[in-house]
Structures are given as C-alpha cells and as structure tokens.
C-alpha cells in the first residue's frame, strides 16, 4: 500500500473532480431537465395543484386547511367554524424555529405513542386527567368534541372513525374518511339551512373510492367538499 502524502492528495483531487462532474450531471442537469418537462406538460401539478374559485386561489387540493372562526380577543386556539366540514386534527404541525422571518407551513406528526398519557394502561375517560399534550388527552378530547358538535336535532353520533380524532403524518392531510364526512352531515345541514339529503348528496358526490378498487383508501377531499358546499349555500 502506498499511502504517501502526494498519493493521498492525488486521490482526493480525483475524488473532488469526480464529485464536481457528477454534481453537474445529477445536481444541475437532471433537476433542470425534469423541471423543464414538468413545467411544460404538468404545469398545474408541478406548481402545487392549486384550486381557484371565481379566479381567487383558495388553496391546494393536496394540502389540508383549518376551517376556523377568527380568533377572538384573549383566545389562544381558534374555535372550529362548524358551518364547514372539518378536517383531521393537526396537532403535529410545527412553527418556524429557524429563518423565523417566514411563516412557512411546517409539516409534521405528533410522534406520540399509543400509550402516551395513559394511566394504568388506559386513557383516562376525562381528558383533563391525562397529562397535557399527550395522545390520550388529544384523542379523548377530540372524540368528545366530535360527538358533541355533530349530535344535533335529535341525531346522536355514536361511532366516531379513527381519522376524526388522530393527527395525520404530515399534519396536512387533505382528506377525511367518508365515515367522518358522514357524521358531519347533520351538523353542516343545520348550520347552513340545508336539508340533510342535500348535504348527504354532496358528500356522496365527493367520495372517491380506492383506485382500481383496491389501491388506497376511500376518502373525501375536504377543501373540494367545502367549495361545493359554499356554492350550494349561495345558490339556495
């Protein structure tokens, strides 16, 4: 083995030249070529699948939003605006901690385990008895809120699907399950002065099945559903 200094230097120099040449190929040419084709052929998708209503961008069909009432004075967390269909909890979203002059959406999950906040192997029935910011507390409180908010006009909600009370991996899940949309129908109908049948038809029309019958899960895009709801309300 020849490990002399000049030999090592020669080897590192070859390594550096290789890196620079391959950086030009994989770090410059490749992304530019893909971007060129993407912008040419899939312009809408490559730029974030934005949805416009009356010419105004109202978001992306891929990014979940919050449908909340404006913050009132003294409030720290906004109340959900129950006229609209609600998406999944977003407990995992972060806030900028570096480059703080921006307020970028910061995707993320809660990373809480299934026994997080449990007492003696079970979640306390009263969420206040579970430690703050634990999964048990969030899930129990969310479940109670979903039951309360959606039990209207003598209609009681009993079965709450899991996606209604859990945060997603990205915190930006644009979808909810058809079951979660279904239990919101009575509430949304009442709050908007529509009939249950009208709103149910809206949900059915916006329910997407599994691709080819088996890929993925049945789901409802909340933003698209709320846009259609808004248009229905304006019309009637």
């Amino acid at each position: 083995m020849d490990n002399s200094v000049t030999n090592t230097a020669r080897l590192l120099w070859a390594g550096l030249r290789t890196l620079l040449v391959l950086t030009a190929v994989t770090g410059v040419l490749y992304p530019l070529a893909v971007t060129g084709v993407a912008q040419g052929f899939f312009n809408d998708k490559a730029n974030g699948s934005r949805i416009r209503v009356d010419g105004r961008v109202v978001g992306s069909s891929l990014i979940g939003q919050a449908y909340n009432l404006p913050l009132e004075e003294g409030q720290e967390t906004p109340e959900p605006d129950l006229r609209w269909f609600q998406g999944r909890p977003q407990n995992g979203l972060g806030t900028n901690s570096v480059n703080t002059r921006y307020e970028l959406i910061l995707s993320g999950a809660t990373n809480r385990s299934g026994d997080n906040g449990a007492v003696d192997g079970a979640c306390p029935k009263d969420p206040a008895q579970a430690e703050e910011a634990t999964l048990c507390r969030w899930v129990v409180a969310a479940r109670a809120a979903v039951v309360k908010d959606n039990s209207v006009n003598g209609h009681t909600v009993e079965e709450v699907p899991a996606d209604a009370v859990t945060s997603s991996g990205s915190g930006l899940d644009p979808h909810i399950s058809p079951q979660y949309a279904g239990i919101q129908v009575h509430r949304v109908a009442e709050r908007n002065g529509l009939s249950v049948d009208q709103v149910q038809a809206l949900v059915d029309g916006h329910t997407e099945g599994r691709v080819l019958g088996f890929v993925g899960e049945p789901r409802v895009n909340v933003l698209e559903l709320n846009i259609a709801l808004g248009q229905l309300v304006t019309r009637s």
Binding site: L11, T23, T26, E217
Partner: protein
C-alpha cells in the same frame, strides 16, 4: 378505521391491503429479469458510453485500470471524504449562496450530521427540510449524494460479487468506472422516468421562492417551492430517504396519492431485489441468485404480514379510544399502505416514511426496529443489501460446515479463517455501534432530555435513533429531539462508522476471494442454490439478530407491546 362500516361494494381495508401487496410483488417480479440482466451487463461490459468518456476525461481517471482491494477501498474512502467535506461546506455557506431562499447557514454540528448522513446513504435528518435548506443545498448537495452514495453502495456490492466470480487475480474492477456507470446508466435514467410519474401524480417540481397561497377561509399560507419530484425519485430509488419536507413521504407534495405511494415502495425495493439477478448472472448461476432472492422475499413477506396484523389490531390505549391506529398516518394511504411502506423502508436502508413509526403500535414500532437490526438485507439498501446478505450467506455456510466438520465453501470459494474473520468483523460492527452509543446516551445525564415519551417508549426512541444511524437507515422514532450537539455528533459518527467500516471488511473479503483458485464442487458441497440453504440462511439471520438485540428490544418495544 376498522370500527366504521364500509360502504357497499367496498372490499374493506384488509383485503385491499393484501391486494396492494400482491400488486407490488407482481410489479417487482416483472422488472426483476430485465433490470437484473441489464445491471449485470452494465458492470461487466468493456464499452464506455460517449458521455462516460467525457466524464472520465473530466476526472482524469483511466476506467480500464483494474484495482486490487486496497486501491478500490482508497477510492471509496477518498471520494466519500471529499463528499462529506463538500456537503458540509455547502451548508455552512448557505447563508451567502444565491438561490437559497435567503435561508441562513446551518450550524456546525448539524451540518456535520447532515453531511455524514447523506454521504453514508443514511439520510437521517435533524433539520426541518422546508425551513432550513434552500434550493442549492437540496438540489445541488443533498440530492446529488442521493445518487452518489447509492452508486457507491452498488459499486462495493459488485466488487464483492466479482470477488466470488474471479479467480487467481485479486483484481476487483475500477471504482471510478463502477461509480460513474451506476450513476449514468442505472440511477439517472430510472430517476428521470420516476420523477415524471411523481409529477404527474401531483408532486411539486419548480424553483419558486417562498410565496403566499390563498386559503378558503381567507388569509393565506406560505409555501416554498422546490425540485421535489426529482429529489423524491432518487430518494426512494437509491434507498436514501431524506425528505424534501419534514413530513417526508407523508407530505402530499412528496407523495400525493395512493398510486404514488405504491410506486414509491416499488422504487425502494426495485434495485435491491433485482441486484440478486445481476449477482446470479455475474457468478454464472442464476439459481444462486434466486436462493438469495428467496431469503430476502421470505423475510419481507413475513414482516409485512406481521406489521399489517398488529397495525390493524391497533392495541394501545389511545388507539383503542380512537378505534384505529391512524395517528401519524395519512387518510389516502390508510393502515395498509402505511404498513407496507414502513416495512419496505426499514428492511432496506431507505428510512423514508409515509407515516410516523413512533405512533405505530408498540409491536409495529418493534418490527420497524427489528427490520433495521437484521442489518437491512431483506432486500436491503442499493448494493449494501446484497453485500450484507452475502456476508450472512458466508456465515451460514460456515455454520453448516461446522455441523458436518468440513471446510466450508460458497460459490466455489473456500471460506477459510481469513474469510470468516472478515465476515465476523462485518457483523459485529453495527451492533457494537448501536448498543454502545445507546448505553452511553442513557448513562449520561443530558441526552435523555431529548425524549418526548417516557418509559419504555422513550428508551425505544433512543435505541431506534442509533439503530437507524448505524444501519444507515435514517428513519426516526421522531419523538426524539435529535438536534442537540450530543445527538448530532454521535449519530453522525455512528453513520460514518456504520457505513464505511463494514465496507472495509467487504472489500477485504472480496480481495481474498478473488485471489483464490476455485474449488470444484463435490458430493460433499453444500448446495447453496437449494431451498434447504434458504431456510438455513433465514434461520441464521434471525438467530444472530435475536441474540444480539433481544435484551435491548425487551426493554423497549416488547415491554410496551406486552403492557397494552
């Protein structure tokens, strides 16, 4: 979602999950022969493409020089050392580089961690992609290492295969040629196609700055654009796993729908599985390749079945209240799409996540950890999976030889004292790194402050972190706040040592094998292409891993899984 009634005509989540898995397996089977044969031709052809000639001219290397193992290793190490330094400087200088969205430079400890991470094909991330890394670092630094670290992995695997295939020479090929060919002929063309498929599904691909996008209820939200699809493609294809966004493949802009999800899992497994075909071609016996493939596939199928079972059963206090283990999982993927992804990403060295392993059931989290602890060989990382599995095959042959009292041989080469020493060193390195660093982190007063969950799950967070780093996986039980000087530095070290020390022994073994003269097969030779050997190999892998990690697993995921 098992508690909710399924719509009429729907096949239900479990059957849908099984069918998705079968579709995935069928797609991999279709690609297996053509891609495997193609890769074998890439690494055995004498011809150079025109673009490759230009590159060799730029490098100043003669691609036809044959290297013995020390020279091959020096090439790997020199190239990787330069890569770490370059990526470190790129991050440290981000604040003054144009095209960086005005993001500030990365702190030294985090820059070291990230540079080590991406060069070691680990892609552990202690930073938030969307708020920390601008276009230049993401595209010109991180994504580049996604290509090159994968190509280095394949090169080392091919060198080991040549060690088995060649005799009386000691020559293992040319590192620069293997590196360039893997990049130009294999990774780049597949990535271009894959990136375009992902864009068509809805992945971002632009170079926008930070901009406001309107919202439904008024106001706006801030997005940063980026070359996401092009990075995502090589992120999964090269079993890298470093996401453009913090949420990784759970982010809708990285993984927009259920089809892209299945496609990304396909890309993760594509090269590692197909390399066994290339291996069979290069050693002149396709059946030897099938035996390795069968071993990998057995473990993969078993792990996926276990994962689906435990995640659908959703044991755990909070999941029982919720009626399903949907915490950290996206609606469009569901439990099945998340489970298949989680197993694929931890049985390879990928570490990309489409759902958050920390919020899996106790046993589900344990399965992801065990997958990595097997050494990521079923089918493993690009290249690293094949060489890891071949090392296990050497051990299995050795154990079989001990049983019958015969000098073991594999693929016509004697497994003597020297060979078995190299193999033994290889399998000791990663467990030593995992267990020593985990013990140190728990023994010292401050590292434990980084845990989000307490008790058994908190222990799992730390064990997972070192398992992930040392095995070059990069996924996280992300409850751990790993952006501290302790974790940035020790995890960075674990990643570098866990990547390059094993390579030393792989190449030494390859050199030693290539020098031997072939031993003719006799009636007493263990038939390593038969199912019996596959069974033996699976057993050896499980027993070695079990003996190494069982005590640590008992303190973490097993304790949690049994309690609930």
């Amino acid at each position: 979602m098992t508690s909710a009634a399924t719509a009429a005509g729907d096949i239900g989540p479990v059957l849908a999950g099984v069918l998705q898995f079968l579709a995935l397996a069928a797609a991999l089977a279709l690609a297996y022969r053509p891609l495997g044969d193609y890769m074998a031709r890439v690494y055995s052809s004498d011809k150079h493409l025109r673009v490759e000639r230009w590159i060799y001219k730029g490098i100043g290397a003669n691609p036809n020089t044959q290297m013995r193992w020390p020279a091959y290793l020096r090439g790997v190490l020199a190239f990787s050392a330069v890569s770490v330094l370059f990526l470190y400087l790129l991050q440290r200088l981000q604040g003054v580089l144009p095209g960086s969205l005005g993001f500030s430079s990365i702190d030294p400890d985090q820059a070291f961690n990230t540079a080590a991470s991406f060069v070691a094909n680990t892609n552990w991330q202690s930073y938030y992609g969307e708020q920390a890394m601008g276009h230049v670092v993401q595209t010109g630094g991180l994504a580049v290492q996604n290509f090159l670290s994968a190509a280095v992995g394949i090169a080392v695997a091919v060198a080991l295969v040549r060690g088995f295939a060649r005799s009386r020479t000691g020559e293992l090929g040319n590192f620069w040629a293997d590196l360039v060919r893997g990049t130009v002929r294999i990774l780049l063309p597949i990535s271009v196609l894959a990136a375009l498929v992902l864009v068509a599904c809805g992945a971002l691909q632009n170079f926008s700055g930070i901009h406001e996008v309107g919202q439904f209820s008024g106001g706006s939200q801030q997005w940063n654009g980026g070359a996401v699809a092009s990075q995502e493609a090589i992120k999964v294809l090269g079993t890298n796993g470093g996401g453009y966004f913090n949420a990784n493949s759970a982010h809708p802009f990285e993984n927009p729908n259920a089809f892209s999800n299945l496609f990304e899992i396909f890309l993760i497994l594509l090269i590692p599985f197909s390399l066994t075909r290339a291996f069979g071609r290069l050693v002149g016996s396709l059946r030897q390749g099938y035996a390795i493939l069968a071993t990998m596939a057995t473990i993969w199928v078993g792990f996926t079945a276990l994962m689906m079972w435990t995640e659908f059963a959703h044991h755990g206090p909070a999941f029982e209240v919720a009626g399903g283990a949907m915490e950290g999982k996206e609606t469009r993927f569901g439990v099945a799409g998340s489970s298949i992804f989680a197993v694929a990403t931890t049985l390879t060295s990928t570490g990309a996540v489409n759902s958050f392993h920390s919020s899996f059931t106790g046993l589900g989290g344990g399965i992801t950890m065990l997958g990595m602890q097997l050494g990521e060989i079923a089918p493993g990382g690009t290249g690293s999976g094949l060489y890891g599995m071949l090392i296990m095959a050497v051990i299995a042959v050795f154990i079989a030889g001990l049983m019958v009292g015969r000098t073991p041989e594999y693929l016509g080469k004697k497994i003597g004292t020297r060979e078995i020493k190299f193999a033994a060193c290889y399998i000791l390195i990663t467990p030593a790194l995992v267990l020593v660093f985990t013990a140190a982190a728990l023994a010292l007063p401050t590292p434990g402050d980084s845990m989000t969950n307490s008790g058994a799950h908190g222990f799992s967070e730390i064990l997972y972190a070192y398992t992930s780093a040392s095995n070059n996986n990069g996924s996280a039980f992300a409850g751990l706040n790993a952006d501290t000087q302790w974790f940035n530095s020790t995890l960075g070290l674990a990643m570098l040592l866990g990547r390059f020390l094993p390579m030393v022994f792989v190449l030494a073994l390859a050199g030693s094998l290539a020098e031997q003269k072939p031993v003719p097969a006799t009636a007493g030779t263990l038939r390593t292409e038969k199912p019996l050997f596959t069974g033996l190999l699976v057993g050896v892998i499980l027993i070695i891993t079990g003996l190494t990690y069982f005590p640590a697993l008992a303190l973490g995921p097993l304790a949690e899984g049994l309690a609930s």
